[in-house]
């Protein structure tokens, strides 16, 4: 079977959807030259009205997409760096997200925002290394963090087809990940439905995006000690609480690894749900970036601030040891 990389899967999804639906168009910076490779080949296939290079005017082009969506198109915006989402937070959270309710259901805003290379990219330092998916979940914008090439393909397709704004984070740490894929099986993956990436019975590890690979590796590494289930929610919001509950009902122990900051992040939400509804045999644990994290430039420091395999191992052993 051919190998498909995660980044190529996103590129393929975008191309397929541009092909399938005239209303879809892509806009963003350097997408004609495909600086990030997300849009590789698309300009020559679809031309300047479907692949629209924008000036450095993120706020205006984000609202521009909202306006185009209100008029019937289905825009996809590529953002080169995760912190650009801070710059357009008002435009997404306060404009695109709110039109449906505020208009009393008169309109819809089917815009997809994609960040190819979210989280830490080696050496990009403090202002280019954030992973702000929890922020969008908090304000209620549908938020997706795929972990595999097939999911990247299928979730991006679903995001574009969804009638609401959807943010798709493609973690830098996952872009190069490749897997064997039978192209004929590539299909939309529904939003809001998680998957058990590895079955196990002693502890559930919840992981998103590139961290799913880390969780799987740790599960293998600790296979002699414990049977670890890895649950990949795929969508941060809406969260597949039922899928998670089913997993935890089997394992009764829970660890979350999450590349956002600790306070009120994704892991906090999972633990809150656990506190409310799950019957656990031991207190759950979070493995996250520290509170208020700013990623230092020096590589060892950058790595120290990100949740890593060692931290995960320690957390898993912690919950297993507890009575």
């Amino acid at each position: 079977m051919p190998k498909l990389s995660y980044l190529k899967a996103l590129n393929r999804a975008l191309g397929d959807e541009l092909e399938a639906d005239e209303r879809v168009f892509v806009l963003g910076e350097d997408i004609r030259a495909a600086a990030s490779n997300l849009t590789a080949g698309l300009f020559s296939r679809f031309g300047p009205e479907r692949v629209l290079d924008t000036p450095l005017s993120e706020q205006a082009f984000t609202n521009f997409a909202t306006g185009a969506a209100l008029a019937g198109l289905r825009p996809v915006i590529e953002f080169q760096i995760p912190s650009l989402l801070f710059l357009v937070f008002e435009q997404i959270a306060n404009q695109a997200h709110k039109f449906s309710l505020m208009s009393g259901g008169q309109c819809k805003v089917p815009v997809t925002y994609v960040v190819p290379g979210s989280g830490s990219r080696t050496g990009w330092a403090g202002q280019h290394s954030d992973h702000p998916y929890s922020l969008f979940a908090h304000v209620g914008v549908k938020t997706v963090v795929p972990s595999t090439p097939a999911d990247a393909y299928g979730l991006l397709l679903s995001a574009i087809r969804d009638d609401d704004p959807v943010v798709v984070f493609a973690p830098a740490g996952a872009l190069g990940f490749r897997e064997d894929v039978d192209f004929s099986t590539l299909a939309p993956v529904p939003l809001g439905v998680g998957r058990v990436a590895r079955a196990g019975s002693d502890v559930t590890v919840v992981a998103l995006g590139h961290l799913v690979q880390d969780a799987l590796a740790v599960a293998d590494e600790l296979a002699g000690e414990a049977s670890i289930e890895v649950f990949d929610p795929r969508t941060v919001y809406p969260l597949d609480v039922e899928g998670l509950a089913a997993s935890v009902a089997r394992t009764r122990r829970l660890v979350v690894i999450d590349d956002s900051n600790r306070t009120s992040g994704f892991a906090a939400e999972v633990l809150a749900v656990a506190a409310e509804r799950f019957d656990l045999a031991a207190p759950p644990r979070r493995v996250t970036r520290p509170d208020g994290a700013v990623l230092p430039f020096a590589l060892a420091l950058d790595r120290a601030v990100q949740p890593g395999r060692d931290d995960l191992v320690a957390a898993i052993r912690g919950v297993l040891e507890e009575k």
Binding site: P55, A60, G67, A71, Q95, S100, L101, Q106, C107, D164
Partner: protein, 315 residues
């Protein structure tokens, strides 16, 4: 057209005066930003538009949506938070929208709508339609970077969009001269957008300027910017009726009133025609207010209806 323009300015004026009364009586909760004094702009601009043309509006938006043709009963009902309101009571004064009439909604964030209108206009063209979009905003908005960014996109891509700046001299209490370095039209001209200053108290002048701009946009020649000089006769927001803010003199207010758009246009009608229109407007608004007051409040259990257009992903 003379009569039509008068009817519109009069309608807006009387709608606003009644709305202010409803704020006082508590039927409208939270207050409004009255459009009193600026009616000629909405009337003149919208008279130049087709039904399929689009507009975006502002916090001070009642005039725009009325001029674009909304049913005043549904507008009153919206301000009163009723289910029969334009937005089913979900939007209120600052978000009144009627997508069927090309009204993409008012916007409560100053400067935000310009880029939304630009995108919508661009999309219309891409979809093969010949409609244009008009975006209204105040003198305060030209200091918002996101609006200036929109000028750039509109100019670069020759988008059929019209930027209408209502310069009423103030952003809340901030005089335009303390807030705008350079000139208002200069900001648009810097992006290569033709920009004109026109008398915003005279609906016929506004109509003429808008018609030229709309023709230009439909001909594929890109955006135009109109600075309409005007004056806000009433408060920034009705909260100012209780909390007097000290930023305008009585003389200045009187000078403003001396150029009342209702009188300017009214003077172009015979006394008889004018009285007939006034009576017609009054009857229309009586009926509209009655309908609104009599219509149902939405069910609090449906508070989150419409939150998502695709709710099916919430399992």
């Amino acid at each position: 057209m003379t009569v039509d323009l008068y009817r519109t300015v009069r309608l807006i004026r009387r709608f606003e005066e009644r709305a202010i009364e409803f704020v006082r009586s508590g039927e409208i909760v939270g207050g409004i930003h009255p459009y009193v004094g600026q009616e000629a702009i909405a009337a003149g601009v919208c008279a130049a538009l087709r039904a399929d043309d689009l507009i975006t509006s502002t916090h001070r938006g009642h005039g725009h949506v009325l001029a674009k043709g909304v049913n005043p009963a549904r507008m009153f009902a919206e301000l009163m938070g009723r289910e029969s309101g334009l937005n089913k009571g979900r939007g209120g004064s600052m978000h009144a929208a009627d997508f069927g009439l090309g009204i993409l909604g008012a916007n409560a964030i100053v400067g935000a709508a310009g880029s939304i209108a630009t995108g919508a206009a661009w999309a219309q063209r891409r979809l093969g339609r010949s409609s244009v979009a008009v975006t209204f905003f105040g003198d305060g908005a030209v200091n918002e970077g996101m609006l200036l960014e929109a000028f750039n996109l509109a100019a670069l891509w020759r988008v059929p969009v019209l930027f209408v700046c209502e310069n009423n001299g103030y952003a809340t209490t901030m005089p335009v001269d303390s807030a705008v370095a350079g000139s208002i039209t200069g900001r648009a001209k810097a992006f290569g957008i033709p920009a004109f200053t026109i008398d915003g108290q005279d609906p016929e002048k506004v109509l003429a300027a808008t018609t030229a701009a709309v023709d230009r946009a439909r001909a594929g020649k890109g955006p135009t910017f109109l600075e309409c000089t005007t004056y806000r006769f009433d408060a920034h927001h009705t909260f100012e009726h209780r909390a007097r803010l000290n930023y305008r003199t009585a003389e200045e207010l009187a000078a403003g009133w001396s150029r009342d758009p209702v009188e300017i246009q009214g003077a172009r009608l015979t006394a008889g025609d004018r009285a007939a229109v006034d009576a017609e407007v009054e009857a229309l608004l009586d009926a509209a207010a009655g309908i609104a007051l009599g219509s149902a409040h939405p069910d609090p259990a449906a508070a989150l209806q419409y939150l998502y257009a695709s709710p099916e992903v919430f399992h």
